[in-house]
Amino acid sequence: MSQIKLRGIHKRYGDCISNADVNLDVRKGTIQGILGENGAGKSTAMKILYGLIEPDGGEIWIDGVERKLKSPHDAKALGIGMLHQHFMLSEAQNVIENIVLGQEPTHPALAFLPLALRALKLGDARSRLDMLMREHGLPVDLDARISDLSVGARQRVEILRLLYIDARILILDEPTAVLTPQEVGRFFIQLRALADQGKTILIVTHKLKELMAITDSITIFRAGKTITTVDTKDTDADQLAMLMIGSRLETVKNRHDVTRSAELALEIEELELNKTAPRRCTLNLRRGEILGIAGVEGNGQHELVEALRHPSEFLKHHKVKVLKFMDQDVRHWKTAQMVETGLGCIPADRHEEGLLLARNAVQNFILGHQNQNSFRAGPFIRWSAVRRATEEGMASCAVVPKKLDLELSRFSGGNQQKLIFAREIHHRPKLLIAFHPTRGVDIGAINLIHKKLLELRAEGLAILLISSELDEILALSDRIAVLENFAIAKTFDGGACDETALGLAMTGAQEGGQHGL
């Protein structure tokens, strides 16, 4: 019998149908994947199951009883816990305080006081957590501050929190988005152990490989509906991709058939990315070339982008020997000057750095290009021109829905990303920084962005591709540089390199190689 049963769930927001007909069966003690493109309704369905959203209609059965979930509180009472895509941890507090947050154990005699005034009694919680950690192989230092923990450890804290409240059903929303390949491996072993002990696990993701590796069965969402559920052992990634987008996809690959120009778009010599690092970063980039930057998060990727985006600010505190963009010394340049000279950038975090979520597409399309002559008439903005440009941009990158006046937050993640992409290439930049260009984006959008990147490179655009997805870097790059400890550890030719070699260079295992290019 199914432990979770959803029947005919539907939910709409205004004109936008989020869930049309969702049916789901999950057996106890299994790991079930929830697959679908961004905006296919999988997140909404999971939020409904967690009580965050009330459906307009449909039935939810848990353990054979029909339930109405009005709030996460109801869901928790039934043993349903959710691990959110973005961690919900308080950075300033330590692990144990974060775990007991919401059900702080206090002395019963103090129950009449407001929570903030009661002294915490953490002894019992500590011994229970010790037991849980041993039982499930989830080691964490309970007294460490969250801000001192690695991403993988934070994830373990989140899972411990769910176990601490006796969750039997775990909903995991894109749990691997922030993990390194090694951490993903460890994480999956832990998940499997949990399932073996009788926990039921729902994993929401769009990463086919991972689903194939960990799940027992997979339910596919498309356009707000559940299309089908397949057993993992009976399927493969190609079939899943086809089910997900409704058609077969050609894979995009750099065929290394374009001759690069000799003209340098970017020249960096001895750039200090971190004051304490022993080495400095040296690299260059030609026009019509894609340079992939591989590396574990935190090895200088953000600093490199900062230095290129905001040279005058960054170089106030860091040294550099040469920093040239299109043959001009840009060491004292401001952001606006860089942008106007032809620097485009797809930021790592589109919500934080790339968009005005409460504004419409047109208002977002001018961001960064507010000084473009074609958009301006003296102090005024020529909104009609911006509208036309937005329309063109949305068409060229297939942004849907093609509504210029729709608030950006109403677009799916993939479409938001495509809009940023369209904006950054609209004014024909000379150099494009693509920083995690496909993070949290569905396959259709990934495909489109990859295809466009190759097209633009053929037209002479220089592209700095920084990504944690090795597949992406391997598929697109003409050259690959590995960033390790704030310097280029090794460079490879795009055609002659594989994941293992890259992985070794990323962890600093191999010494030597060329420094710089």
């Binding site: 539907h10 790339g354 208002q363 001018i366 102090p379």
Partner: protein, 357 residues
């Protein structure tokens, strides 16, 4: 679509107002008056005659301007609590310009207006500089600048320009000719063409945000500073201008007070216009035209409550202030109050259109 959106942004403050009125009614009944009677007094007090309407307007106009001033800050995600100080400095500047300036009517008024704008701008610019370049918190700096503005203007007014014939702490008056004559329609209420400055400012501001790059950029900085930085906008610069511009708008209050009302600078002339502006801006949803509506409401409530003391036996001045505060409190919480009402509205709409998926 747009109409429905506007309607919805109105339903919230209105339902809050009704709820506030309900609570007030209970309070009124407790002290032993009839809420009906009080409502009538309120209405008559606010707009029962041309004179009463004039006085409601008299309180409304400065509130529109301070509301706009605060909104300019809030749109750039800055809490401009220094509006009170800005309008005080502006009023003194206007009065001094009026006293010293050429006694030609037009020239004197132009000079007074310019001085008010400059005074408000200057005081806002100091706050802007402290925030943008010295990383001072704008609330702390704003409060301190209010004190300083108060102290400096009082000291200047009372030590150098004091009216020797008056017991009041005020400067010597402007000559009568340069003061703006009141329209006879409002009987003797001090309402002349100067009140048009407020809606004019609202309109200009509306256009500023809608059509200019500077307006768009100031809002972008407020909405997502990181994205704005990536777009090459200088956050510090926009913050500076948001506070300085707010000061300039607040400065118009100083001009109106000096040229349109008292004809001189009176120490402490403002019954906290600057602080009420914060509530006005929030209730008006930071939209220039919303601010006009909310200021009108606040102005009417202020004037209406004035008459309660006069017209009733049990409602004293202090109680009238409680009622006023209750209404403002409810309206300021407009975002919290009617979640239920919002849901009903959605439900009603669905029933009307029969759109069930």
């Amino acid at each position: 679509m747009a109409f429905e959106k506007n309607l919805r942004s109105l339903t919230r403050p209105l339902s809050a107002l009704i709820l506030g009125a309900f609570v007030s009614a209970i309070l009124i009944r407790i002290v032993g008056e009839s809420p009906w009677k009080v409502a009538e007094i309120f209405y008559n007090g606010a707009m029962g005659s041309a004179y009463d309407l004039g006085l409601s307007l008299f309180y409304t106009v400065p509130l529109i301007l301070t509301g706009l001033a605060v909104s300019v800050g809030l749109r750039a995600r800055l809490f401009n609590i220094g509006v009170e100080g800005q309008l005080t400095v502006a009023a003194l500047a206007a009065a001094l310009a009026g006293i010293w300036g050429p006694q030609d009517v037009i020239l004197n008024r132009v000079l007074g207006f310019a001085a008010a704008l400059l005074g408000g701008f200057l005081w806002g610019a100091i706050l802007g500089y402290l925030k943008a370049r010295r990383q001072a918190h704008e609330v702390v700096a704003g409060i301190m600048l209010n004190f300083i503005a108060y102290g400096i203007t009082s000291w200047l007014a009372l030590n150098f320009f004091k009216n020797p014939d008056s017991q009041n702490p005020e400067t010597i008056p402007l000559i009568d000719a340069v003061r703006i004559p009141a329209w006879s329609y409002f009987q003797s209420a001090p309402i002349g063409w100067h009140v048009l400055l407020a809606p004019l400012a609202a309109m200009l501001l509306w256009g500023f945000y809608r059509w200019t790059e500077a307006g768009w950029a100031m809002e972008a900085v407020g909405e997502n500073p990181k994205a704005a930085r990536e777009a090459g906008l200088s956050i510090a610069q926009k913050q500076f201008w948001a506070l300085a511009m707010g000061g300039m708008i607040a400065g118009i209050v100083g001009f109106i007070e000096v040229y349109g009302n008292s004809g001189k600078f009176i120490v402490g002339f403002s019954p906290a216009y600057g602080f009420m502006g914060i509530a006005v801006a929030l209730v008006g949803r930071l939209h220039p035209f919303g601010i006009i509506l909310s200021a009108a409401l606040f102005g009417a409530i202020h004037k209406g409550s004035l008459d309660l003391d006069f017209e009733t036996e049990w409602i004293t001045r202090d109680f009238a202030q409680i009622l006023q505060a209750v209404l403002i409190l409810f309206m300021s919480c407009a975002t919290l109050v009617p979640a239920g009402i919002q849901n009903r509205w959605e439900g009603l709409k669905r029933r009307l259109y029969g759109q069930r998926p």
